[in-house]
């Protein structure tokens, strides 16, 4: 096996250039090296101007998402040996404005998040002194998968609908809404449903399933969207039958 591999990295420095360019770097092909290790080698040893985000290097903080050989990936969980002999293309995540090099602007997602009310909504708060809300392991199972999202944005980069319609709430936000809807402690699903129906929300999704395919945490946002559509459809039907207060 060769002892080095070439990274072809997209560069974009808005203060100096109007168009992205591609720069090549040779990095050691370490046995356990992730693509992120390769980028850090570049940053530390070759070219301190390369910018990218990372922190935990263990697949949990969600900051290191990039496009690797055309696919959205957590670079701390993608390994150079899997791309040998190379070259490896490293680009910023698609569907987001690029701030610089491999750093994208995710403010759109951050701004959308509060609108799905990702917190426990209850008519009546029970005082903490009365102890926990009981929740059986089975009830926990109902929503657990949707609570695993690390906000890494890979699903947004993969989503053809978000690519065309930036108004679309997007996979992770809908999965998060579903995470709370399915939580036995929550009573806010009606309010969340209204938001999603109103904002194009789920209707935009054509069930391509790309989001679920790229998700590194097994969240299955496509499944969440499908379930949501079904509830939304029946709820919309019911709304023709019953006055609001009767539900």
């Amino acid at each position: 096996m060769a002892d080095s591999i070439t990274l072809q990295v997209t560069r974009y420095r808005p203060e100096e250039e109007s168009e992205p360019t591609i720069q090549e770097y040779d990095v050691p092909l370490g046995r356990q090296w992730s693509v992120l290790d390769g980028l850090n080698y570049v940053k530390d040893q070759i070219d301190g101007t390369l910018s990218f985000r990372w922190s935990c290097r263990m697949g949990i903080c969600g900051s290191c998402g990039m496009t690797v050989n055309g696919e959205p990936k957590l670079t701390c969980g993608a390994f150079l040996t899997d791309y040998a002999p190379g070259p490896v293309r490293v680009e910023p995540l698609a569907n987001f404005p690029v701030i610089r090099d491999l750093v994208v602007e995710i403010g759109d997602f951050i701004r959308k998040l509060p609108s799905v009310q990702p917190w426990i909504v209850r008519e009546e708060e029970r005082p903490v002194s009365e102890g926990e809300y009981l929740q059986t392991p089975e009830e926990l199972d109902d929503y657990q998968q949707y609570s695993m999202c690390i906000n890494c944005m890979l699903c947004y980069a993969a989503c053809p609908v978000y690519g065309l319609d930036p108004e679309f709430m997007g996979p992770a936000a809908i999965a998060l809404a579903q995470r709370y809807n399915l939580d036995s402690r929550d009573e806010g699903s009606r309010e969340r449903l209204d938001v999603l129906i109103e904002h194009e929300g789920i209707w935009g999704c054509t069930f391509v399933g790309e989001c679920t395919a790229v998700c590194p945490k097994g969240v299955d946002p496509a499944g969440a969207i499908q379930r949501y559509k079904l509830t939304a459809a029946t709820e919309t039907l019911k709304s023709f039958l019953l006055p609001r207060g009767a539900r």
């Binding site: 420095r13 301190g48 290097r57 697949g59 903080c61 602007e105």
Partner: protein
């Protein structure tokens, strides 16, 4: 622009977000803001795996949690702080339950607890083995409910503004644009986390560079107990990724190269096939990491390209237990070590994990500087003393984050507007940063070179075992590195998302923190908890049952003083495990 707030949080991890919510709930009239160099849910709290301690089981008591914590700390913690901590931890964890944290449950729906190292009873709440992740996302999502909480995401704080012994805000760089702005405030709460990156081999994320400790130190607040650095006994060899103590709590064994459960040779109890609380693999971290070093000396570890290792054996737990209780451990081993713990032994070695020391605060998070509070890993209250018990620091973030938030809210309600003098200070800082960008032109060394050398110096001089010789040498080498840092170079002069500039600012903080660690360690001529001196192997209560406080002198050198430990009901005794 100069933005202005009543209470300014620096840091959006567990402590920072809890504090922000506490301020918003205490006084909704106050304007609260959270500044964080990463999006809050990227904060390092996200990596915590094992759990959070708080007494809830019927057969457990607050006094037992307090005693475990105090004996675990080798009697260096403040007992009044510990009593407040054990009292409020369960309430805080329950509050998080009400906010939606997906705690693992018993079949009847009650919150489940698991054993943890150094704890005599089962009291560690957990959300599988992604406890910190779930806690942080619950806090972040819940914080979105409070309209009053303003956020500065991806803003890097470079300086505290101080006038007349009081803190009035910060200067920060917006990473996306490179704008340098003053953000003034009536009170500032530091929640910037720890500093594991000062060492070469650590479980800590890239952002854990001790920024807050350095900010406070330079502003005139002392740092406490900086010589106490926790090594966790089980990190993966190449990456330093943590294999949580929960793996041992569920029944994992530590084996040397002969397949022998070597901890039985170090006064930690007799091997039992099942986990026994406060015994063997469930002993405290300092003792386990020290035992590893002795195994290395005896030639009973296995050599690898990444240093000597022992093995963690989880195979007897079976796939079912591993998948329900430790799914992340399996995921991490498969991905980063290419091994399946269901069938194979996991190679591990001790790894720098947690900073017991930090900014000196009282029980409400107040530092000696007016208007400055601190909570979470950046602070030293202290409940951790010479050795933190696993699963005490997540609840510490909640309990003392909330306390600091409430205290700061009260302070802010009574404090006046920031004086105009701070604007001039902010201008100076802006010029300093602009010069840093402009002047670092060629000829100097790379940031990364100095950083790696500093990390090696720390490992060699202030590792698991230290001595006068190693520390004195380390101090000299750090002084040289400081000199070289002054003329270090930047490749990147642009303003937009300049991560080389932030790396430089982080390195400056780490050099400060490293110096305070080595200087405090040099002066502590005893062995206690995580601070082990080969030249002073015994604990010396007569001289050192006291916190070290390191102050920065005007010339940049440091001065170490001592503060007696607060004791309420537990006089110093012997630390007994497995007997």
């Amino acid at each position: 622009m100069t933005a202005s707030h009543d209470v300014l949080l620096i840091g959006g991890g567990g402590a920072g977000l809890r504090a922000a919510i506490a301020v918003a709930e205490t006084n909704p009239e106050l304007s609260v803001a959270v500044v964080s160099k990463v999006y809050p849910m990227r904060s390092h709290t996200v990596s915590a795996e094992g759990g959070a301690a708080g007494v809830i089981a019927d057969d457990d008591t607050l006094d037992e949690h307090a005693y475990d914590t105090i004996s675990g700390s080798d009697w260096l913690c403040d007992q009044d702080a510990v009593e407040a901590f054990v009292q409020e931890a369960p309430e805080e964890l329950l509050r998080l339950e009400h906010w939606g944290c997906p705690w693992s449950r018993e079949p009847d729906g009650r919150v489940a607890v698991r054993p943890f190292g150094g704890m005599k009873n089962m009291r560690t709440w957990f959300a599988a083995d992604k406890t910190g992740f779930h806690m942080l996302h619950t806090l972040f999502q819940t914080s979105l409910k409070y309209d009053g909480v303003r956020r500065y995401d991806e803003w890097f704080v470079t300086k505290l503004l101080v006038d007349d012994g009081r803190v009035h805000g910060v200067v920060a760089v917006e990473l996306m644009s490179g704008r340098i702005e003053a953000i003034t405030a009536k009170t500032v709460i530091l929640c910037t986390g720890g500093c594991g990156r000062v060492f070469p081999f650590t479980t800590n994320a890239n952002i854990k560079t001790g920024d807050g400790m350095s900010l406070a130190y330079r502003a005139g607040a002392p740092l406490k107990d900086m010589e106490f650095v926790q090594y966790h006994p089980t990190g993966l060899p190449f990456t330093g990724i943590l294999i949580t103590e929960a793996a041992r709590a569920e029944g994992g064994w530590l084996l040397n190269k002969d397949g022998y459960r070597y901890l039985q040779d170090y006064d930690l109890g007799k091997p039992d096939p099942h986990p026994v609380l406060r015994s063997m693999e469930l002993g405290p971290r300092d003792r386990l990491s020290q035992a590893f070093e002795h195994e290395v000396e005896k030639g009973r570890t296995t050599d690898t390209p990444y240093g000597p290792i022992v093995h963690l054996d989880l195979r007897h737990l079976g796939a079912k237990v591993i998948d329900t209780k430790l799914p992340f451990v399996r995921e991490l081993c498969l991905q980063y070590q290419n091994i399946d713990p269901v069938q194979e032994l996991v190679p591990v070695r001790p790894v720098v994990h947690y900073m017991m020391g930090g900014v000196h605060t009282d029980i409400d998070g107040a530092t000696p500087l007016g208007g400055l509070y601190a909570a979470g890993e950046v602070a030293c209250v202290s409940i951790n003393g010479a050795n933190r018990l696993g699963s005490n620091s997540l609840p510490e973030c909640l309990v003392f984050g909330a306390r600091a938030g409430r205290a700061a809210a009260q302070y802010a309600a009574e404090a006046g507007e920031p004086p105009s003098a701070v604007q001039a200070q902010a201008e100076d800082e802006r010029r300093r940063l602009e010069r840093t960008l402009a002047d670092r032109a060629g000829g100097g060394e790379r940031i990364s070179t100095i950083r790696s050398e500093m990390q090696q110096v720390m490992e060699d001089s202030a590792g698991i075992y230290r001595s006068q010789d190693s520390l004195a040498k380390g101090a000299d080498q750090l002084a040289q590195l400081q000199e070289r840092f002054r003329v270090a170079d930047l490749d990147d002069r642009s303003r937009t998302f300049n991560t080389e500039l932030t790396a430089m600012l982080e390195l400056q903080a780490m050099l400060d923190v490293a110096e305070t660690m080595v200087q405090s360690a040099l002066r502590r001529e005893e062995s206690r908890g995580a601070h082990q001196r080969t030249d002073f192997p015994a604990r010396d209560d007569a001289r050192f049952l006291a916190h070290s406080l390191v102050h920065r002198n005007p010339d940049g050198s440091c001065r170490v003083e001592y503060l007696p430990v607060t004791m309420t009901r537990w006089p110093p005794g012997e630390r007994v495990y497995g007997r």
